[in-house]
Symmetry: C2
Subunit: 331 residues, 2 copies
C-alpha cells in the first residue's frame, strides 16, 4: 500500500483517524515490517481497532492492470479487496494504480446485476456546495447504455450520501442545444428522458462548477480530461496568486495584511478535501485516493469510505438496480 | 454581426482598433442602419479605413448550422466569408454561432488540400507563457488521421505566429502510459511518432497549463470539455477570492491593501486576452470570437486575425500540407 508517497502517508492518516473517531476499525494491508516501522514512528502499535495484514507483493504505479491481476495475487491491493469479498472489511481504500485497482476489484468482487462496467465517481466543489461526476477514467469507449447506468449509480450515491430525495442528473456535452454532441450522448439523453431519474438535460464543462446539477455523467475520457484540466487551471491560478503577492517588498506587506483571507481562500479551494473517488457498480465499497495524496487527503478518502458504509450505498445501489431490471423485463 | 451583446460591442472594438493602429482596414458587415447608429455613438463615420457592407439576414446563436447555411444567404456571416473568398478581405472575424460559422466557412472557402475537417484552435495561458490547443468542438467523432491533421495544422500555426522553429506537439490522453487511452488516440500516436513533427507524446489535462508542449491535440469533444471546465474552475476561484475579501470590514481593509496585487493578478488571468480562436484548415483566415466577448475581448480576436494575415498562416499551411501529400504519394 502507499501510492506515490509510500506507506508512511497512509499509516499516518490511519493513526490520526483512529484518534479522531471511535467509529472505525482499520486493517493496514502491506509489507508487515514496513508498516510496523511506520506505526512505531507514529507511536502506535497493533491491537484494538488497528490490525495489520501482511502482503508480500507490490503493484507498481505504472504497471499494466492485466499483469497486476494475473501476476500479483499476494499484493496489498488484492488482499485488501479479498477482505471486502470475505466480509472481513466493509470497504477498501487505496492510493495505488487506478487501472490495477479497478481490474482487481472487478475480478474479485464482480459487478452488481445490471451493471456492465463500474465507473469512478468523485465529489467536486461548486460555487455553493458540491456536485458528483462520473466516469472519471475507468471507461474510454462508452455506449449510451453505459452512460445511463452511470446516471443510475451516481443518482443512488448522491441520494444516499447527500440525502437528496431525487438528485438532478446532467449529461456532459459540448453544447446545450440538442443538435450538438456525439451519438452516444444523444442516445443516452433519450434513455434518461424516459427514465424515472430526475434528468436535467445537457450540461457543459463550466456548468459542473456552477453546480447546475447534483450528478454530472460523462464517458471516462471526457471526465478525466475535465478533472485534470480543472486541477491544472487551479494550480496555475494559485501559482500566479502566489507570484503576484511575492513580487516585491510592497506586495509582500500586502500579503501579510491579506494573509488570513488568503488562508481561508486556500482552505476553501483545498483539493485534498475532495480526495476519495468511489469505484461504483461493484459488489462492495472500494475508494480510490489520489496517488499523490498526503495524510490529510488520504484521511478524507477513508472518511468517504466510512460514509458509504454508514449510508448503505452498496445495498441501496443493488436494490435500485434490481427494480430497474424488473421494470425493463416487465416493461 | 454581434454575438451575444449585439452590434455595439463589435463596432466599439473596431473603432478602438482603428485608432490604435494604422495597419488595419475594417469592413463592418451587418444591418447598415444599426451599424451606422452604433458608429455615430462612437463619433465615427464611414470612410478611409472603415467601410460598411449591408447584410439583411441574421443567424441566431442557437440556429441549426445546416439551416443557416441553406436559408441565410444574405446573413452577415455569409457575406463576410464571401469577402474573404473574393479576396476583398484578408480575414473574417465573428462572434456569432460557432456551428454556423464553421459550416458556412467550410462551404464557401473549402478546406485546404490534405485536410478532411477544419478544427478550432485557441491560445491558452500556461505557468510561463502560453500554448495552443485544437480541436475545441468542430469535430466530435475524430479518427486518428484527423488528429494527425490537427497536429500538422497546430504545428504550422504556432511555428508562424510564435516563431518557434519546431513546436512540440502533445496528444491529449487520460494517462501518460501508452496502455491507456482510446483507439483513435493510440493510432494517432503512431502516426505522429513516424512523422517529421516534433512529437512529445501523451499529455494529460493538467499538462496543458504546465505548458509541457506548444500544441495540444485532441478531438473536439474532449477539447471543448477541457476548455469549458477550465473556464468554470477559473470563474469559481475568482468568485471565492472575491467572497473571501468581501466577508467583513477587516477583510475589506485587507483587500484595499492588496488591491494593486489583486488587480495585477486579475489582469494576468483575464480570459479576454486569449479571445479569438482560429478555424484552421480552410482556404482563408476565419477567427471565432467568444459569443459573450466585450469590446476589449473582441479587439483581441481582430488582432489574432491581423497576426495570422501578417504571418501568412494560410500560405504556410498550404505549403506544409502539400509537402506532406507529396511525401505520402512518393513514400
Amino acid at each position: 500500500m502507499g501510492g506515490d508517497h509510500g506507506v508512511a502517508t497512509t499509516v499516518t492518516a490511519a493513526c490520526q483517524l483512529l484518534k479522531e473517531t471511535s467509529k472505525v476499525k482499520i486493517i493496514l494491508v502491506g509489507q508487515q515490517d514496513v508498516i510496523v516501522d511506520a506505526l512505531r514512528q507514529q507511536q502506535m502499535s497493533v491491537g484494538g481497532r488497528l490490525s495489520v495484514q501482511h502482503a508480500s507483493q507490490i503493484v507498481g504505479m505504472a504497471e499494466s492492470p492485466a499483469l497486476a491481476l494475473r501476476g500479483k495475487k499476494d499484493s496489498s491491493m488484492r488482499i485488501a479487496i479479498n477482505l471486502v469479498k470475505e466480509g472481513v472489511a466493509d470497504a477498501c481504500v487505496s492510493a495505488g494504480n487506478t487501472g490495477a485497482l479497478m481490474a482487481t476489484a472487478r475480478y474479485v468482487l464482480k459487478t452488481l446485476p445490471g451493471i456492465d462496467r463500474p465507473a469512478i465517481c468523485t465529489t467536486l466543489p461548486t460555487m455553493d456546495t458540491h456536485t458528483h461526476m462520473l466516469d472519471l477514467g475507468a471507461n474510454v469507449d462508452t455506449s449510451a447504455e453505459h452512460l445511463f447506468q452511470f446516471a443510475v449509480m451516481g443518482s443512488v450515491l448522491v441520494a444516499a450520501v447527500d440525502e437528496i430525495a431525487s438528485p438532478t442528473v446532467g449529461l456532459l456535452n459540448i453544447g446545450e442545444e440538442a443538435i450538438k454532441g456525439n451519438e452516444q450522448v444523444k442516445q443516452a439523453a433519450k434513455l434518461l428522458q424516459s427514465s424515472h431519474l430526475n434528468y436535467y438535460g445537457f450540461v457543459e464543462g463550466d456548468d459542473i462548477y456552477q453546480g447546475k446539477v447534483n450528478v454530472v455523467v460523462c464517458d471516462g475520457f471526457a471526465g478525466n480530461v475535465a478533472l485534470k484540466s480543472s486541477e491544472g487551471v487551479a494550480k496555475m491560478i494559485s501559482h500566479f496568486l502566489k507570484k503576484s503577492f511575492n513580487k516585491n517588498i510592497l506586495t509582500r506587506i500586502a500579503a501579510l495584511f491579506a494573509s488570513s483571507v488568503l488562508k481561508q481562500f486556500r482552505d476553501r479551494m483545498d483539493p485534498r478535501r475532495y480526495n476519495g473517488a468511489s469505484l461504483l457498480g461493484l459488489r462492495g465499497i472500494v475508494i480510490k485516493s489520489h496517488g499523490s495524496a498526503d495524510a490529510f487527503a488520504f484521511k478524507h478518502a477513508i472518511r468517504e469510505a466510512m460514509i458509504e458504509v454508514e449510508k448503505n450505498v452498496s445495498e441501496k445501489l443493488a436494490t435500485e438496480l434490481e427494480s430497474i431490471l424488473i421494470e425493463r423485463r416487465t416493461g
